[in-house]
């Protein structure tokens, strides 16, 4: 009896070894097939993205509360932002999201060079975004709109060019939230650029193929979420208080 048990377990070991040799090397043992593995990775990434939504959600919540309380000051602060740069940056980010999905589409067909090309364009668009953001930040520093000891705010005119008095301290609160939200978003962009650059190098070296490209897909999810956050930041900070 003991013998037969031993034989059975030996047979099992042999079968497992045979399966191990036959299966896709990118598939780890705990998953039944590649699709299940990919779904699990994507689910895990989404759980992380939910924490990111809540992280930015805290700042969106603070913005909403103070905007309702200090409406005129927030409108005045919002009107001092350059709508042109905000809109161009939105377009840049949308273009970069398109290049990300095209990179992932290309790797599905094993087109490595095309994938690397799309990733490089994504990284370049990321730098364009940060460059435009730096122009905006420079303007804000020049105008003394950065919260702190040198903060100074006088320009607050309505549609007819009539000056409306606002409390500079309340406007300062708007700019604190502006720099916190766009700064945190820019930090996410920098991380995203690092991810995409690394993945471009790894793809070039042949780490990813039509069978296995999960890191590309997850980095893509991250990039799109950063895009979505900007899609909300643009109207909230630049657009919704043009008329008060």
């Amino acid at each position: 009896m003991h013998d037969s048990q031993a034989t059975t377990s030996q047979a099992t070991v042999q079968v497992t070894t045979a399966e191990h040799e036959a299966h896709n090397p990118a598939l780890v043992h705990q998953f039944a097939d590649a699709e299940q593995q990919k779904n699990a990775a994507s689910l895990g990434m989404w759980l992380f993205l939910v924490t990111e939504i809540m992280f930015f959600g805290g700042m969106f919540c603070a913005y909403l509360i103070y905007r309702l309380k200090y409406f005129n000051a927030f409108a005045a602060g919002s009107q001092s932002l350059a709508i042109k740069w905000g809109a161009i940056n939105t377009a840049v980010l949308i273009a970069s999201s398109v290049t990300v999905v095209l990179a992932i589409y290309a790797i599905r067909f094993g087109r490595k060079k095309l994938t690397v090309a799309f990733l490089v364009v994504t990284v370049l668009l990321g730098f364009v975004f940060l460059g435009i953001k730096s122009i905006e930040y420079t303007d804000k520093f020049r105008e003394h709109h950065v919260p702190g000891a040198n903060f100074h705010f006088t320009e607050n005119f309505d549609d007819n060019g009539k000056q409306i008095p606002v409390n500079p301290n309340e406007v300062q609160l708007f700019f604190s939230l502006y720099f916190a939200m766009t700064g945190m978003h820019a930090l996410h962009m920098i991380i995203g650029i690092g991810l995409m650059s690394t993945l471009a190098v790894l793809t070039w070296r042949g780490h990813y193929s039509a069978e296995y490209y999960t890191p590309l897909e997850n980095a893509g999810l991250y990039w799109h979420l950063v895009d979505i956050i900007w899609i909300y930041l643009f109207p909230l900070l630049y657009l919704i208080s043009r008329h008060t």
Binding site: N39, V50, G58, F60, I94, I231
Partner: protein, 96 residues
């Protein structure tokens, strides 16, 4: 050509173009005085754009794993709880 998500290059480009058109639209509408509806229109357009990105670029539409959709919805659901309960608190305070 389409992949396992059923999304083709043509779809990606159409969605990308739609997002750009919506960006131009929301920017232009911001210069039109709609009174209290300016924020409503701006945020509605932003939500449509976010939905397009989530469904088509992040492949939540047509995902083989339905649990992913549940996690996505739960994320925004908890965000809605955060915003609704915070505002219902602040807006009903006597000192507000």
């Amino acid at each position: 050509m389409s992949n396992e998500h059923g999304t083709s290059v043509k779809t990606y480009l159409i969605i990308g173009a739609t997002l750009l058109v919506l960006t131009v639209a929301t920017t232009l509408i911001a210069f039109v005085n709609l009174g209290p509806f300016n924020p409503v229109v701006a945020l509605t357009i932003a939500t449509i754009k976010a939905l397009l990105v989530i469904l088509f670029f992040m492949h939540v539409k047509g995902a083989s794993e339905k649990l992913t959709g549940v996690v996505v919805v739960s994320g925004f659901f908890f965000l809605a709880i955060l915003l609704t309960l915070s505002l219902s608190d602040y807006l009903t305070r006597s000192w507000w």
